[in-house]
């Protein structure tokens, strides 16, 4: 199961880098580091792009900012949100 979980972390990092056109190595994104502000330093327009990407590529929606704040806390938090949402589907 650990391999599956890590696979999803890698897919999320790939989505972040690809959708936001970042020029960094995915390995430099820490699983538990904040995506916004300090950490990866993303902004609100990046959040909108990630919301679009998650819907198109993972089929999950982030309905509002409160959910977004929780889901975008880190790569681990985003993976947990994807798993929780997929589990409810």
């Amino acid at each position: 199961m650990e391999g599956v979980a890590q696979g999803l972390n890698d897919k999320v990092k790939d989505l972040i880098i690809r959708r936001l056109k970042l020029t960094i190595d995915p390995k430099t994104i820490k699983d538990d580091a904040p995506l916004f502000g300090e950490g990866l330093g993303l902004d609100s327009i990046d959040a909108l792009e990630l919301v679009v990407g998650l819907e198109q590529e993972f089929g999950i929606s982030i309905p509002d900012e409160d959910v977004g704040r929780e889901a975008f806390a880190s790569v681990n938090a985003l993976v947990a949100y994807i798993n929780k949402t997929k589990g409810q589907a």
Binding site: S44, L48, V51, V52, I62, E65, G68
Partner: protein, 139 residues
């Protein structure tokens, strides 16, 4: 629904020569709209540079969002914050009636992303995506 120029004056702060929408010929509040700008002079052609074609679409998007109940004009301002994947495909000519079609594709918080298309008859003038941020005017 339709929106005439007088109502547009009440919604947008833009004025001649920086107002690029003569009227809205079709609008679904907060979701989609088609705005019209008649190109009647050389001056219009000069004004309708590619960046201002995008501005015209942003103005149509702002008008659409002002019809959201929670975003009445006067209480909120809209800002063009993102332009994405725009292509400019055809020239604009005097006599063209430019239609700006915008449609909401994603909303997140106070950010709204639209697809936009400018067309004159069968000619697609430009197409791409743009995002608007809605911010309280009262702070």
């Amino acid at each position: 629904m339709k929106v005439g120029v007088e109502e547009i004056y009440n919604i947008l702060p833009h004025r001649y020569p920086f107002l690029f929408v003569d009227k809205i010929i079709d609008l679904s509040p907060g979701k989609k709209a088609t705005g019209l700008k008649a190109i009647t002079s050389d001056e219009d052609i000069l004004l309708m540079s590619p960046s201002l074609v995008i501005e015209a679409m942003a103005q149509v998007a702002g008008i659409t969002l002002s019809f959201n109940n929670q975003h009445r004009a006067g209480d909120y301002s809209g800002y063009l914050i993102e332009v994405k994947d725009f292509s400019f495909l055809e020239e604009i000519h005097i006599g063209d009636r430019l239609f700006f079609d915008i449609e909401l594709t994603q909303k997140f918080g106070n950010l709204f992303r639209f697809t936009g298309k400018a067309r004159a008859g069968d000619r697609i003038i430009a197409k791409g995506e743009l995002s608007i941020a809605i911010v309280s005017s009262t702070g």
